[in-house]
Symmetry: C2
Subunit: 219 residues, 2 copies
């Protein structure tokens, strides 16, 4: 029914960093679900790149991934989520917890991103770039991506900052700091999307921005 039977060669196999893939050693059912989820995401990204986001229908994605449209929405609540969903936050938490406890939160985060960003680009380069390109160009995706950073990254950051500093649960300063960090991360992300920095400088820019933040944003 559809012509391209070949699985995209240009897009790498989707997977977050730390390449011990949970695909093995999982009950058969879960394994199939994970495979379906990745198939949907890969085919969707490929189609989006080829014919644009708006001109790609969910029906087409479903056909390419050989599932029904109903099933698509069981895996992703909206079309935008196919692009926006990732699995990096838990990794960030893990690496953060490994940092020596005498470091301040911002210093610890500088080390975290110094380690993670290069690894991220090394592992999933094509995928990360494709997702960011789409985020930059499609307004509705852009909106959901920011909201995802809020409900994901910002929340997780707040939690680990509270954990590390021993502050009380609803502490507003920890929340503000988490937001400020999320902010400078977004600044770096958009700087790249707007072509203001090269992809290889991202790690450096993030580190610079965090140092700038720790210095009280002097201008």
């Amino acid at each position: 029914m559809h012509e391209n039977r070949t699985m995209s060669a240009s897009l790498p196999d989707q997977q977050a960093a730390r390449s011990d893939d949970p695909l093995d050693r999982l009950p058969l059912r879960e394994r199939k679900k994970l495979k379906t989820r990745r198939a949907i995401q890969n085919h969707a990204l490929r189609l989006f790149e080829r014919q644009g986001y708006d001109d790609t229908t969910v029906e087409q994605i479903a056909a390419a991934a050989e599932i029904s449209p109903s099933t698509f929405f069981r895996y992703f609540p909206t079309k935008e989520d196919v692009i926006v969903t990732d699995e990096y936050d838990p990794v960030m938490v893990e690496v953060f917890r490994q940092q020596p406890p005498e470091l301040s939160p911002i210093e610890a985060l500088r080390r975290v991103f110094g380690e993670l960003i290069p690894e991220m680009f090394a592992t999933d380069q094509g995928l990360v770039m494709a997702r960011l390109r789409l985020t930059a160009s499609v307004p509705s995706v852009r909106a959901r991506m920011i909201e995802a950073m809020r409900s994901g990254t910002q929340g997780v950051l707040k939690d680990i900052i509270i954990e590390r500093t021993g502050r009380p649960a609803g502490d507003l300063d920890a929340d503000a700091l988490a937001w400020a960090v999320t902010g400078v991360l977004m600044s770096a992300m958009y700087a790249w999307m707007d072509g203001l920095v090269d992809i290889d400088d991202m790690a450096g820019l993030i580190d610079h921005n965090l140092a700038f933040l720790a210095a009280g944003c002097p201008l």
Copy 2:
């Protein structure tokens, strides 16, 4: 055709601060457009409050505002924009420019918000609260609101920071600072939405967060 012919009494007349209303002294055509825009927004907010966002259709809003659905979308590109659109950013710019030039950007912003936030709540209290309530509770609106703060507030902040500090046009530090400020503003906004602070403490919280930022977010 529809019963409620009475114009909402509960919601105040929508208008940004600085109450010299551009409604007067405007060509007739523009005046009508502005009136239509406000009518749509007022009726929409009222209906959302009464029967919920998802259970209110654009068709209902159009009927209440006595326009056609086509016209609705000529005024607001999406249903979410009825809630998300406001006119505060230019006011912020204006007040920022009035601050004494020896102040650092953050110090100047502390004064700006110290002046503006109370005024904002005094003028449009009902409207502001209704909009924030909806933003807090409807995910798609939440996403668009954050994006609006990015494309609006963050951009404007960056511009006036560059203007004040005399930095070059694409300066990344100014951008990072604007993002950090946007971040702590969001932190305050969400703290209120989650019921963590009272509405009267918003100005104080924002001021505190900016001071915290200027101090390098020490934790």
